[in-house]
Symmetry: C2
Subunit: 253 residues, 2 copies
Amino acid sequence: MSNIDIISDKELQKGIREFLETAPDIYMAGVSVDTVIFGFHNDKLKALMLRFGNTPYFVLPGGYIRKEENLDAAAMRILQERTALKNIYLEQFYTAGNTNRSKEEVALELTQKMIGTIPNSNWFTQRFVSVCYYALVDDTKVNPVTEIFFTEVKWFDVNKLPKVLYDHDAIINKALKRLQADLDEKLVGFNLMSETFTMGQLQKLYEAVYQKKFVRTNFQRKILSLGVLERLEKQYSGKSHKAPYLYRFVKTS
Amino acid sequence: MSNIDIISDKELQKGIREFLETAPDIYMAGVSVDTVIFGFHNDKLKALMLRFGNTPYFVLPGGYIRKEENLDAAAMRILQERTALKNIYLEQFYTAGNTNRSKEEVALELTQKMIGTIPNSNWFTQRFVSVCYYALVDDTKVNPVTEIFFTEVKWFDVNKLPKVLYDHDAIINKALKRLQADLDEKLVGFNLMSETFTMGQLQKLYEAVYQKKFVRTNFQRKILSLGVLERLEKQYSGKSHKAPYLYRFVKTS
């Protein structure tokens, strides 16, 4: 830890300091929100993570709950601030509450290196229980936004996570388990796809979420039997009559 | 409200007052735990509820999280205090966080009627986010325990709830939805049954949870196809050779 070189950055310092000074007046103490934002690209399931200051550590997009704000609204605000997206599919899946989860000293040590004395440090080092949400986004529409503590927003393959702070790797694993259940039960997968897609692309999504291979014919039979896909007319491209069919999800609700 | 007759009870008053005086030093502020304890008897799915003081209102068993206690441990402690059971099947399913959920004035008004001036009333009227768990218990083994605020512990049919405080009716509905999903997915139902049971009893449980009727032959075929039931040898009772088979769940983990 002590060998990490923290680059001095006046703007970053000012933003962090302002946030730390005002936060205890604005936000609930003891409860925070963390979000696992899933996207699907290049056949991989990815999660959006933020670089903590100018350190090598990454964290999940998260934040605090305003004193007069509903919990779900706080989660949606945090997501929109980070992705600039509206109408995000958002699902609360877990609340993390071990006593040692916020006792991670690294974040505090790093912050101290970045800005010197920490205002209201007692407020930030108190124990926080974190309510966790996962979100499904069409990554082509996301325009990630950095802010205050964070100098970089980056997609990571869920199987190749960077160094993380707190218990955020465990939270991502929990989110993945819940996504697997929901993909089956609530057919939420279309939130990760473009409007139209081929059967092959959909199979790649399911393989990325369940982290295993499916047999093409079995997958196709099973998914079609659910009655949620609409096959579109082939558009003559002038090139090949072997172009695969395009599908889209039928919105049932 | 103002017509409710609050019976004076010195022991109750003393217990409540002691609790209110010490709670802020012992417990986290802003986060609480509520539990929906499901039991199955007389073919009905029931939830255990507590009478608030000597009022007509009931609440879910719940409590606060000790400052040095893990969240899951707090839920288990609260359950054990209330049911005197060990090895309870316990599942976190939801965190309730609307701003108006703790703003219910009734509990405070009732407490005031019971004990007069309320110590630390600011601590109790602050906003609480509540982490909710459901538990599945064999009701024949439960020995409900009253304590502090509560003068009666009672099972209620989930379709015939009494007057409740806070958002506890909404929380029970959420728990029921999650139980429906988990009964299918994780086969948690055996926690609600005695060690052995007939196919008819099991069907009644599924009907109570899903709140609909099943066709006997279909139900039997489906449940046997899961491969989780073991059929026991009939014991000759000397009475009837038509006694139904008994089954038990095979523990797979």
